[in-house]
C-alpha cells in the first residue's frame, strides 16, 4: 500500500486487512472512474447543449437498444467480478484454520469479558500474540453486541443464546481499538476496549505471569463434578446418557429425526435446555442447568467437554 494513501485506512494489523484494503482501493478506482465519467458527461452536456433560443427543442432521439444492453451487461459483469473477489475474502474470514488459539468472549451491557484457555480472564482488554491465528467464541448475556476490531477488519455480532465465532491472525504488535458495533443500549459507545498484540515471547511472558489461574478445562472439570454430570455422562454410553468422550464435532442423530453436529452452540443448548434436541435413543430425563451456572462457567464446562478424548 503506497505511503501517501494510508491516511484513508485504519492500522493494518491482521493478515486479512491488506486484502480488504486492496479490494476497497480497487472499488474506489472502478466506482470513481464511473462517477467521474458521469459527472464529466453531465457537465459537458450541460454547457454544450445549454438552451440558446427560447423556443429551442432538443433533438428527437428515442434511444438505442445496443447501448442500453451495453450499459446493463458490462456493469453486471464487473459486479460479478467484485462479488467474487469479496466473496473469496469473506470465505476466508469465515473459515478458521486448524490449530487456532481459542478465546472465549462474553458480551454484556456494557463490557467485554474474555477468557484464555489457559485460564486468565480479561475485561475490555485482550492480549494475544502476533503471528498466530486466534479464534473468538462469542456469546452474549443479554442483548446483541458486535465484536469489532477495525485494525483487523473483522466484525461479528454476538448473540444471546448461542455462539458465534470469528477468527483473525494479527501481524503487527501494538494496541488496537475494540468496539461494540451493534447498538446495545445506553452505554453502547463506551463498550470499547483494547486489543494488545504482543510479540510471541512477550506474550509467553505475559501468560506465564498469569499462572495463578488454572486452565479453563480444569475449572470446567470442577464444574462438571460439582453439578454431578458424571452420574449420567460417564466414559461409556449408559442408558441414562451418552458418553461425552469425543462428542465434540461429532455428527449426532436426534430423537424425532434429523441430526446435528455437536458444536459449542449445541453443547451449550444441551446444558441449558436439554429437552430441545435430544440425542436419538435417549429419554428426556436431564434437568435444565439454567440459572445454576454462569456464562463463564458454561464456557469452562464446554471447554472441558471438548477436551474429553478417549
Amino acid at each position: 500500500m503506497p505511503e501517501w494513501i494510508t491516511w484513508l485506512f485504519p492500522d493494518q494489523a491482521s493478515t486479512i486487512a491488506p486484502k480488504v484494503d486492496w479490494l476497497y482501493l480497487a472499488l474506489i478506482l472502478v466506482t470513481g472512474s464511473v462517477a467521474l465519467l458521469i459527472f464529466t458527461l453531465i457537465t459537458v452536456y450541460s454547457i454544450r447543449y445549454r438552451r440558446r433560443r427560447i423556443d429551442q427543442r432538443g433533438a428527437h432521439i428515442e434511444g438505442f437498444v445496443p447501448l442500453e444492453l451495453f450499459w446493463a451487461v458490462i456493469p453486471f459483469l464487473i459486479f460479478m467480478g467484485i462479488f467474487a473477489w469479496g466473496g473469496v475474502i469473506y470465505y476466508e474470514r469465515s473459515s478458521p484454520p486448524k490449530g487456532t488459539i481459542d478465546i472465549y468472549v462474553v458480551g454484556k451491557q456494557w463490557m467485554w469479558k474474555l477468557q484464555h484457555l489457559e485460564g486468565p480472564r480479561e475485561i475490555n482488554q485482550l492480549h494475544i500474540p502476533a503471528g498466530y491465528p486466534v479464534r473468538l467464541l462469542m456469546t452474549s448475556q443479554d442483548v446483541i453486541h458486535s465484536f469489532y476490531v477495525p485494525a483487523f477488519r473483522i466484525k461479528q455480532d454476538v448473540l444471546p443464546g448461542r455462539y458465534t465465532s470469528q477468527w483473525f491472525q494479527a501481524t503487527k504488535p501494538g494496541r488496537y481499538h475494540l468496539f461494540c458495533a451493534e447498538y446495545c443500549g445506553t452505554e453502547h459507545s463506551r463498550m470499547i476496549g483494547t486489543i494488545e498484540v504482543m510479540r510471541q515471547e512477550d506474550f509467553q511472558q505475559w501468560i506465564e505471569a498469569q499462572r495463578a489461574t488454572q486452565p479453563m478445562k480444569s475449572s470446567g472439570k470442577e464444574v462438571f463434578a460439582r453439578l454431578g454430570c458424571d452420574s449420567c455422562h460417564s466414559s461409556t454410553d449408559t442408558p441414562l446418557g451418552p458418553s461425552l468422550h469425543n462428542v465434540y464435532q461429532r455428527k449426532t442423530s436426534l430423537k424425532g429425526g434429523g441430526s446435528i453436529v455437536a458444536d459449542e452452540s449445541y453443547l451449550r443448548e444441551s446444558i441449558l435446555n436439554p429437552a430441545d434436541r435430544i440425542v436419538h435413543g435417549y429419554q428426556s430425563t436431564m434437568p435444565t442447568y439454567r440459572g445454576q451456572i454462569s456464562d463463564e462457567q458454561l464456557n469452562e464446562l464446554i471447554e472441558y467437554i471438548k477436551s474429553l478424548k478417549r
Partner: protein, 216 residues
C-alpha cells in the same frame, strides 16, 4: 367505495363498469397485503417447526382437536352462505339475502364462541403467555414458542373474524333498508371476498396448528 344512494356511479368514475373494476381490484390488492401479513407469521412458524419438531408435536397436542375441526366446518359453511347471499343479491331477492347474511353472522359468532371457549381452556391449563405460562418442563422452551405463535396466529385470525362480522352487520343493515341494488351489489361482493380470505387463512391454520403429528 362510495355508496350508491344518490347515483350508482361515484363522481370520479366514468362508468359503472370502471367502478366495479376498481372496487374488485382494490379489494384484491388489499388481500395481497393480508397474505403478506400472515405470511410473516407462517415464515416464523416454518423456521421453528423445522428447528424443534419434537416440541411442536407435543405442544400441538394441547390444542383442542374437536373445537378446531368443528370450527373448520363452521367457517366453510359460512363461506357457502356468503356466496349464496351474493347470489340472492344479484337476483334482487332481498329476503333471501337477509337470511344468508344472518346465517353468516350466526356462523361467525359460533366460531368465535368456540374459539373463546378454547382460549378459556388454555387459560386454565396455563398456556397463556405471561407469568403463569407453563407446560410440562420436558418440552418447556420450544413448546412455549409454539404457544406464542399459536396465540398470535389464531388471535389475529379471530380479530379478522371480528372485523368481518362488523362488515357483515353493515351489509345486513343496508340490506334491511333495501339499499343493495341487484345491478351493483359491490359491497356484498367485496366484503364477501374478505370473508372468504379469512376462511382461507383458517384452512391453513387448521392443519398447521391442530394436526401436527397427531398420529403419535
Amino acid at each position: 367505495m362510495d355508496g350508491p344512494e344518490t347515483s350508482i356511479v361515484a363522481e370520479q368514475f366514468q362508468s359503472l363498469e370502471q367502478q366495479k373494476d376498481a372496487d374488485t381490484l382494490g379489494m384484491w390488492v388489499f388481500l395481497a397485503t393480508e397474505i403478506m401479513f400472515f405470511g410473516g407469521l407462517f415464515l416464523a412458524y416454518t423456521v421453528y417447526r423445522i428447528m424443534y419438531p419434537e416440541a411442536w408435536a407435543e405442544a400441538s397436542g394441547h390444542t383442542s382437536f374437536a373445537i378446531g375441526t368443528i370450527n373448520t366446518f363452521v367457517l366453510l359453511t359460512s363461506s357457502l352462505t356468503v356466496v349464496l347471499g351474493l347470489d340472492a343479491a344479484t337476483l334482487g331477492r332481498q329476503r333471501k339475502l337477509i337470511l344468508f347474511l344472518v346465517l353468516t353472522i350466526v356462523l361467525g359468532l359460533t366460531f368465535l364462541l368456540l374459539k373463546g371457549f378454547e382460549y378459556y381452556h388454555h387459560y386454565k391449563e396455563g398456556l397463556f403467555p405471561g407469568p403463569g405460562f407453563r407446560l410440562e418442563p420436558e418440552y418447556a422452551r420450544a413448546a412455549l414458542l409454539f404457544m406464542c405463535l399459536y396465540f398470535a396466529m389464531t388471535g389475529l385470525h379471530a380479530l379478522h373474524m371480528i372485523v368481518g362480522l362488523g362488515l357483515m352487520s353493515f351489509l345486513l343493515i343496508r340490506a334491511w333498508r333495501g339499499l343493495i341494488r341487484p345491478e351493483f351489489p359491490a359491497h356484498v361482493e367485496i366484503i364477501g371476498l374478505y370473508w372468504h380470505f379469512v376462511d382461507i387463512v383458517w384452512i391453513f391454520l387448521y392443519p398447521l396448528l391442530y394436526l401436527v403429528d397427531r398420529h403419535q
